[in-house]
Each structure stands twice: as structure tokens, then as C-alpha cells.
């Protein structure tokens, strides 16, 4: 048994490919736990960042600077009465959030956080991701229908039409990135997520800059379509609160509602990961081919530790600026503890053995976090599109451009 466990450590591959069930389960737990934590911290970050965009403070009461707010929310939502409308279709109503949740969590199976840090590497990886994430439409449609109420129904109609429409443009822009993977000597491309990043490594360029501006346009199309896919502002029509109160999840409350939120945020992280993998070089550090050499490798491998120390510093400044009053004692201590934990993580990240293993994951997460911040930024800035305008953008703007980019990429691939 122990041999079975340790044997994987020698293998330089993902647990799924190695066929090691134990390590696959460990990875699954790490990834899903990590995603849940990421969703919670994303929740906190969104409220905080949005508040600062809007000259507010955001959550400040639960824990220092509202750090424990997501936990408080989770407890509140779990203990809330779970209301199922009497006219609702109970079974479908019950299963809809689960479908969304499953769909948005299943895609994490193939997301490569590093060359070996993935649960598995399917050779149809990107196809699998697109397919499974498209299943969440089913959950939305079913939730809207099962609520047996007009607002959710309209919300789910909008949502399904929107998600199907943008999937087309999204798929085409993905194809043009996949096309780029085949530009090697053998002329064989790959759909595997790890393979796509390795192709970028091999060609020594992020696909974002490949055949500039073709790669960039494809990336931009994907970046727009992924916001629409995840029903976020400015494409949040399915849950446009001013029109449809809350869209397809109007009738949901408590835990079930929180499952929708969990699914939504998980899906946001998942599609951002696709974008990072396809165009931003996945786990690769910035400038892998211009700033080469051992010195640069060292410099970049120290960044994770320093950034955690930086966060710890910010938290520590927060400690210093806390009001000196007995009432704030616990808060101050809590924040100081948080700062200490961050600093500790930062210091651990300086240990060479940890450093080398972790930095892939760090760069991947940092890029995804950039996208998460963009989501918040969009939400603070843009008004909401109207349904017909949304459709127009999807079908008449993004789709033709995506097809054009695909053809041009193919031509460029043949010529250069």
C-alpha cells in the first residue's frame, strides 16, 4: 500500500495519467478545497473591491476588515429556512443547483496548475472543459422552469439563449488557439490542457502574442464570451436584478441559493483558467524566453514569497492603523495573526524545495486572479446590455470576427 502511494512521487506525471487512485483522490480534495476557499475569498474580495470602487468600506464588522464575512455568510445561508414554492416542481427544483455545481466543479479535473499539478490530463481536455461547462445551462434552464414563476422563466430563457449564443464564439476562438498548437515540426496539435501549455513553451511565446494581433483578438473574443457565459456584468441579464429581481434563482433561498453562487464563482474561476491556459501561458512565469538564465529564474522564483510578505506587510499596516481601544483588541489580534500566517507562508515559499514546486501554481493562480479582478472591475463600471443588443454582439460581432481570426490564423500558420 505504502509502495503504491510512494511510487507516484517518482513519476513525473499527473495522478490521473499515472492511474494512481490514492493521489488522484488527494489531488481532488486539494483542488476542490482550494476552489471552495478561492470562492469564499473571491466573495470577500468582490465585496471589498466593489465597495472601494464605490467609495464605501464594504464589510467591516465580522473579523478585521470583514475577513470572516464569507464564513458568516455561509453559516447564515446554511441555517436559513429552505423554501420550496408550493407550485414548484420539487425534484427539478432540487436538482437544478446541483447540476450547476457539478458542472462547474467537474471541469477542474483537467485544469493544469503546473506540468504535473493536475488531477488528470485528458487528451480531449479543452473539449471536455467546454462540454462540461456548457452543462450548467441545463441547471439554469431547469431552475427557471421548476420555479413555476414568470421572472425565473424569463431569466432562464434569456440565460439559455445567451449561453448557447456565446458558446459558439467562444468555441471558435478556442479553435484558433488550438490551431496554434499544431505549428510545430510534426504538425500535430493537441487538445490536452497540459499539451497546450507545453506547445507554448515549445514555441517560446504566449499564444496571446502569436501572430499579433490574431492571437490577441481571439483572446479578446474569449474574454468577452466568458463573461457572458458566466452571466456576469455587463452580461448579467439572466439575473438582472432591476428587471427580473434575481432571474432564474429568484425563488431560491438559503443553501440552495448559495449553491448557485458557489457554482457561479467556480465557473468564473474555471473559464478564467481556460483563458490563462490557452493564451497566457498557463503555469509559465512571465518572460520565459527573454529574461532567461539562472539569475532570472531565481528572481522569478522569489516573487511568490515576496508577494506573500507584501500582503503580510499590508495586513500589518492594518494592524498598526487599528483604533487603540479595548473594543478592537480581538480584531487587532486577529489581523495580526492573519498577517503572521501570511508572513509565514511567504517565508516557507523561500525554501528552495517548496519554491520550485510551488511557483508554477503561484503563477497560474496569479494570472487567474487577474481575471477575477477584471470581473469585479467590469461589474463596477459597466451598465447592463439589453437582450437584443447582447444577441447582436454575440452573433453579429463576435462570431464573424472569430471565424475571420480562425481563417487568418490558419493562413498565417501555413505561411510562416
Amino acid at each position: 500500500m505504502l509502495d503504491y502511494i510512494t511510487s507516484y512521487l517518482g513519476m513525473n506525471t499527473t495522478p490521473g495519467q499515472a492511474g494512481n487512485v490514492f493521489w488522484a483522490l488527494v489531488y481532488i480534495m486539494i483542488v476542490f478545497g482550494g476552489v471552495s476557499v478561492a470562492v469564499m475569498s473571491m466573495n470577500w474580495l468582490e465585496r471589498k473591491a466593489l465597495a472601494h470602487f464605490q467609495i464605501r468600506l464594504g464589510p467591516m464588522r465580522v473579523g478585521p476588515h470583514g475577513l470572516l464575512q464569507p464564513i458568516a455568510d455561509a453559516i447564515k445561508l446554511m441555517t436559513k429556512e429552505d423554501i420550496i414554492p408550493s407550485e414548484a416542481d420539487k425534484f427539478v427544483f432540487w436538482i437544478a443547483p446541483l447540476i450547476i455545481l457539478c458542472a462547474s466543479f467537474t471541469v477542474y479535473i483537467v485544469i493544469p496548475f503546473g506540468p504535473t499539478h493536475a488531477i488528470t490530463d485528458l487528451n480531449i481536455g479543452i473539449l471536455f472543459m467546454l462540454g462540461v461547462s456548457s452543462l450548467s445551462v441545463l441547471g439554469v434552464v431547469m431552475a427557471g422552469w421548476a420555479s413555476n414563476s414568470h421572472y425565473p422563466l424569463i431569466g432562464s430563457l434569456r440565460s439559455s439563449a445567451q449561453m448557447i449564443s456565446y458558446e459558439v464564439a467562444m468555441g471558435l476562438s478556442v479553435v484558433s488557439a488550438i490551431l496554434m498548437t499544431s505549428l510545430n515540426k510534426e504538425g500535430t496539435g493537441t487538445l490536452s490542457m497540459i499539451g497546450i501549455v507545453q506547445a507554448q513553451q515549445q514555441q517560446q511565446i504566449w499564444f496571446l502574442f502569436k501572430f499579433f494581433p490574431l492571437g490577441f483578438i481571439a483572446f479578446a473574443i474569449f474574454a468577452i464570451a466568458m463573461v457572458a457565459e458566466t452571466n456576469r456584468a455587463p452580461f448579467d441579464l439572466p439575473e438582472a436584478e432591476s428587471e427580473l429581481t434575481a432571474g432564474f434563482h429568484t425563488e431560491y433561498s438559503g443553501l440552495r441559493w448559495s449553491l448557485f453562487m458557489l457554482g457561479e464563482y467556480a465557473a468564473m474561476i474555471a473559464v478564467s483558467s481556460i483563458a490563462v491556459t490557452l493564451w497566457l501561458g498557463g503555469w509559465m512565469r512571465p518572460f520565459p524566453n527573454t529574461l532567461t538564465g539562472d539569475t532570472w529564474d531565481l528572481v522569478f522564483s522569489l516573487i511568490p514569497g515576496f508577494s506573500f510578505l507584501g500582503l503580510a506587510l499590508i495586513a500589518f499596516i492594518g494592524v498598526v492603523r487599528m483604533p487603540k481601544h479595548p473594543y478592537f483588541k480581538i480584531q487587532t489580534l486577529g489581523l495580526a495573526g492573519f498577517a503572521a500566517v501570511l508572513a509565514l507562508i511567504g517565508l516557507v515559499l523561500f525554501v528552495p524545495a517548496v519554491r520550485d514546486r510551488i511557483q508554477d501554481i503561484f503563477w497560474f493562480c496569479a494570472k487567474v486572479a487577474g481575471f477575477m479582478y477584471l470581473y469585479i472591475w467590469y461589474r463596477a463600471t459597466f451598465p447592463r446590455y439589453r437582450f437584443d443588443q447582447l444577441m447582436k454582439v454575440g452573433w453579429k460581432v463576435l462570431l464573424p470576427i472569430a471565424i475571420g481570426v480562425l481563417i487568418l490564423t490558419a493562413i498565417a500558420g501555413v505561411l510562416f
Binding site: 467609495i55 464605501r56 414568470h150 441579464l237 432591476s242 429581481t245 463596477a380
Partner: protein, 384 residues
């Protein structure tokens, strides 16, 4: 429960397009509890998919019988009640009522009082427009302007609070003038506000005016022609955005408005975007008026000679002012006693809301929200 008269029965509704695909029309009940109906407006929408075939407004959820209450109060006692109608522009309501009763009594407020009135009323117009902008933008999906406008509206409310102790329902004026002399530093406060707010208005505009999505959401939405406006009695910024240069402050000046120099902004297309631009410009013009008023404010008494017990001579009077939402009129009938025989309020929101149906026919559900926002209704005033 006596369930109602069939709604939507009288409307000549367009039928859904049944040529090839048979779709059902959908009747949706928006409100009275709905995040975007600005209170307790209930709109029944008949939809073909997302297209609006017709609407019917059901109002009265906030009806308090203000006009009936007036008949049982003295002229002075009724004064605070008017603040509760358009509660975001309480000062304007009070101004209209006080001036109407003054007209009936045949007295005139002293010049200093009139200037104070103009300053406060214009500040209130600014506050009302800021609230409108915030909520309107929120309805269309832009969250952030709401907080920016509320930040700046706060400064206005602070001035009100310092002046008369109340922030929202101010009861700032009395029949015959003003009760309170301006507090020390009033002019300084107003001037400080005047200096700081233009850049803030630019900030709102920066967020919205050239924002592609904002323009797409508002251009050619809820179009209404000048003829339709006149026929439907629509007034205020909505009328002006349709290209009619009509503002009671200019057409039939009241208070001290004839002494100030300001422009009436007008629109061309009469769509939601034009109404937005008109209101933004009105904010700037209000600032202009306030600046002139603060600089030229005369010294003198603030209260005219008004009897303690008011018994206006038998007669009737209609007086209207340009409230932030449109023509706010008071029709007061006196029978010579201490209580008005009848007070009729001509609320701009009530009349403007009637145009909703015309403006949203054939539009989409999202446009209904935009149009409700752009009409700038306050349900306290619609229902009274």
C-alpha cells in the same frame, strides 16, 4: 377580496406574431414590490417573448388622502404635509404650496426670503436630479454612479439640516416667507458646495455619457415626440428633452427667478439619452442660479406680515412651479374660513407616468425599466 376589474381589457393590444410560430403571450406583474419600480408602482406587462405589447399601471398603494387631509387642517397646519408628497424634492413642494397660499392671501414674501427660497429650491432640484441619476443608472445596471451621487447629495442634505434641522422632509418655508434666518456660514457652505460639485457632475458624465453600453441602452429608447408630450400633459425635463423650450421658471416666473440668468436645456430626439443629457445640464444651470442668488442675496426681513390666524378671502387660485419632475400645481379654494375648502395638487409624476404606456409599446422588458427610471417618478407624489 373583490378581485378587480379586468386589467388590460381596454387596451388595443398588438397580437403576437403568429404567422409561423405559435407563441403564447405572457402577462407579467411587475411590482408593487420590485427593485426597479421606484417604490410601489405596479405595472402589468403583456409580453410577446421579451417584446412589450402593452402596459397598465396600477397605482394608489401609497395613497394617503393628502387632499382630504388638507380640508381638515388650517393653512399653516397643512404645510408640512406637502413635503411628504415628492419626498425627494420636499423643498419644491413647500415652495409651491406657500406661494399659492400667499397668492390667495395677496401677500408677497420679502426679497431676502425669496432668495433663500430660490437657493434652497435649486439645491433641492440638484439633490432630486442626483437621486434620479443614481437610481436610473442602477436600473440600467451601472451600480457605481448611485454611490457617487449619494455622496454629493449628502452635502446638500447637510446644508438643509443646518438650515432647518431636517434633511428630507424639510418644511423649510412658511406662508409669507421663511421661518429661519440663514445660519452663520450658510453662504460659505453653499459656495463651497458650488465649487466642489461641478467636477463631480463631470465625473458622473465621465462614467456614463460616452459609455457605449449606456448610450446603446438609452438612445432611441422610450422616444416621445413633442406633440405626444403636450397631448399627454407631460412636463419637466421629459418635455424639454422632446425639444419644447418650456420651463415655468422662464414662462411664468415665480419667486425671484426672473432676476437670474440661466438657460433652459432642450433635447432633440426625446429619447432616454436626451432626457439624461437635459437633466445633467439642468444640474449645471441650477448651480448657476444658486451662485447668482448667493452673491446677490439682499438683506432685510424674511417674513411678510401675515396674520396669525389665516383666513384668506373667498376665492380660488392655481399656482404652479417648476418642480424637478415637471409642473407642480396647487389649486386652492378658500371659503373664507381658516381651513381650505379644497386643495388640489397637480402632481407632475402622476401625469408623466401616464406616458409610460406610449413610450414602451413595442420595446423590450429592459426598456420598461429604463423608461420608468427616465420618467423620474416618485410614488409618494403619484399616489399622494
Amino acid at each position: 377580496m373583490t378581485e378587480p376589474t379586468t386589467y388590460l381589457s381596454h387596451l388595443e393590444l398588438g397580437e403576437p406574431d403568429k404567422t409561423y410560430l405559435d407563441t403564447n403571450e405572457l402577462i407579467i406583474n411587475m411590482g408593487p414590490q420590485h427593485p426597479a419600480t421606484h417604490g410601489v408602482l405596479r405595472v402589468i406587462l403583456k409580453l410577446d417573448g421579451e417584446k412589450v405589447l402593452g402596459t397598465e399601471c396600477v397605482i394608489g398603494y401609497l395613497h394617503r388622502g393628502v387632499e382630504k387631509i388638507a380640508e381638515h387642517r388650517t393653512y399653516t397646519m397643512f404645510n408640512p404635509y406637502v413635503d411628504r408628497m415628492d419626498y425627494v424634492a420636499a423643498v419644491s413642494n413647500g415652495l409651491g404650496y406657500c406661494e399659492a397660499v400667499e397668492k390667495l392671501l395677496n401677500v408677497e414674501a420679502p426679497p431676502r426670503a425669496q432668495y433663500i427660497r430660490v437657493i434652497l429650491t435649486e439645491l433641492n432640484r440638484l439633490a432630486s436630479h442626483q437621486l434620479w441619476l443614481g437610481t436610473h443608472a442602477l436600473d440600467i445596471g451601472a451600480m457605481t454612479p448611485l454611490f457617487y451621487t449619494f455622496r454629493d447629495r449628502e452635502e446638500i442634505l447637510k446644508i438643509f439640516e443646518k438650515y432647518c434641522g431636517a434633511r428630507l422632509t424639510t418644511h423649510a418655508f412658511r406662508i409669507g416667507g421663511c421661518l429661519y434666518e440663514t445660519y452663520d456660514g450658510f453662504e460659505g457652505d453653499v459656495k463651497k458646495f458650488l465649487d466642489f460639485v461641478p467636477s463631480k457632475i463631470d465625473e458622473y458624465e465621465e462614467l456614463l455619457t460616452t459609455n457605449r453600453i449606456w448610450v446603446e441602452r438609452t438612445k432611441n429608447v422610450g422616444k416621445i415626440s413633442a406633440e405626444d408630450c403636450k397631448a399627454l400633459g407631460v412636463t419637466g425635463p421629459v418635455l424639454r428633452a422632446s425639444g419644447v423650450k418650456w420651463d415655468i421658471r422662464k414662462a411664468m416666473p415665480y419667486a425671484a427667478y426672473s432676476e437670474f440668468d440661466f438657460e433652459i436645456p432642450i433635447g432633440i430626439n426625446g429619447d432616454t439619452y436626451d432626457r439624461y443629457l437635459v437633466r445633467m445640464e439642468e444640474m449645471r444651470q441650477s448651480l448657476r442660479i444658486i451662485r447668482q442668488a448667493v452673491e446677490r442675496i439682499p438683506e432685510g426681513p424674511i417674513m411678510a406680515k401675515v396674520p396669525k390666524v389665516m383666513k384668506p378671502p373667498v376665492g380660488e387660485v392655481y399656482h404652479s412651479i417648476e418642480a424637478p419632475k415637471g409642473e407642480l400645481g396647487y389649486f386652492i379654494v378658500s371659503d373664507g374660513s381658516t381651513q381650505p375648502y379644497r386643495v388640489r395638487v397637480r402632481p407632475p409624476s402622476f401625469v408623466n407616468l401616464q406616458a409610460l404606456d406610449l413610450m414602451v409599446r413595442g420595446a423590450l422588458v429592459a426598456d420598461v425599466i429604463a423608461v420608468i427610471g427616465t420618467l423620474d417618478i416618485v410614488l409618494g407624489e403619484v399616489d399622494r
